[in-house]
């Protein structure tokens, strides 16, 4: 289902919990699917003893992918024109993330959105924007 320009306005929001209690196994799944085997995401021994982090942490692109799921659920499949984010904080095993899109502009059958994903402490982990084609 695509969005309809006549039914949305600036300030509208759509939120989803995109992951609850992120598991190391899901991070491993993402490493396998994306091909990014950086051990800081999947190898606890390397990450704590050699790299100096408290634990493995998620690929930024896993968080962006989780955020993208919220976007496609909101704007519909194959509707995105642009999607960009900055990675503002790391995402750790056990995190629960809520992704939110806020409509900033509706014009010429394109919706512009602010995008933010926050963790269970209310800290943002990605911030960015998106644009999508909508129906009249």
């Amino acid at each position: 289902m695509a969005l309809s320009a006549s039914r949305i306005k600036p300030g509208d929001t759509h939120s989803e919990t995109v992951v609850s209690n992120l598991t190391r196994t899901q991070i491993v799944q993402y490493a396998g699917a994306s091909g990014d085997y950086n051990p800081i995401h999947t190898d606890e021994v390397y990450t704590t003893k050699a790299a100096g982090y408290p634990s493995v942490f998620a690929h930024g692109m896993l968080t962006m992918g989780l955020t993208g799921k919220m976007l496609t659920n909101y704007v519909g499949d194959g509707r995105l024109l642009k999607f960009g984010v900055r990675f503002t904080n790391q995402v750790w095993p056990g995190d629960t993330l809520v992704a939110t899109a806020t409509v900033t502009e509706v014009a010429d059958l394109v919706v512009k959105l602010d995008v933010v994903t926050t963790n269970q402490d209310g800290k943002d982990v990605v911030r960015g924007s998106a644009e999508a084609r909508i129906d009249p």
Binding site: V18, Q29, G35, Y46, A50, K69, T72, G84, F87
Partner: protein, 153 residues
């Protein structure tokens, strides 16, 4: 550098599962009008980069753990992190597409940070063209190398 990236349905399904997305449009068994790729799938071009540095290769030392916490003498102290990623979609990627991905370096800049010391940012632009030469996806990534691990305080 140009990479050939064949888009396959099973790869799309694995990728969608990895981002926890059960949308039927990513599964060949259930996509009514055919499978398309999720919005961040272009990143999986790494699978087809023969030189990709974040994939272990047979017979070569790997910086992750084995007998010791790192398989190389001098582990990259903090390594690189992903700072930004931007996609521009000209059309969805579909199974059967054979993409040619041209990756070019972009700008480089530095910044001082309280949480991680000196930060060096490097931009990378990837253009994805299909088998007819049509531009279908543009990806702009920014990587950052930190002087020390990011302080969690």
């Amino acid at each position: 550098m140009a990479i050939t990236f064949p888009v396959e349905a099973s790869h799309i399904l694995m990728f969608a599962r990895a981002v926890g997305d059960p949308n039927p449009v990513y599964n060949p068994a259930s996509a009514p009008g055919g499978v398309i790729a999720p919005p961040t799938f272009g990143q999986a071009v790494a699978q087809f980069d023969p030189e990709y540095h974040l994939r272990p290769k047979p017979g070569q030392p790997w910086f992750g753990s084995g007998k010791t916490p790192s398989g190389v003498d001098k582990a990259p102290s903090a390594g690189g992190l992903h700072a930004e990623q931007h996609f521009e979609y000209l059309r969805p990627l579909r199974p059967g597409d054979v993409l040619t991905v041209e990756i070019k370096p972009g700008a480089t800049w530095e910044k001082e940070s309280k949480r991680a010391g000196k930060l060096t940012f490097r931009e990378r632009i990837a253009e994805y063209r299909d088998q007819t030469g049509e531009l279908v996806l543009i990806a702009r990534g920014v990587g950052v190398t930190t002087e020390r691990p990011v302080d969690q305080g």
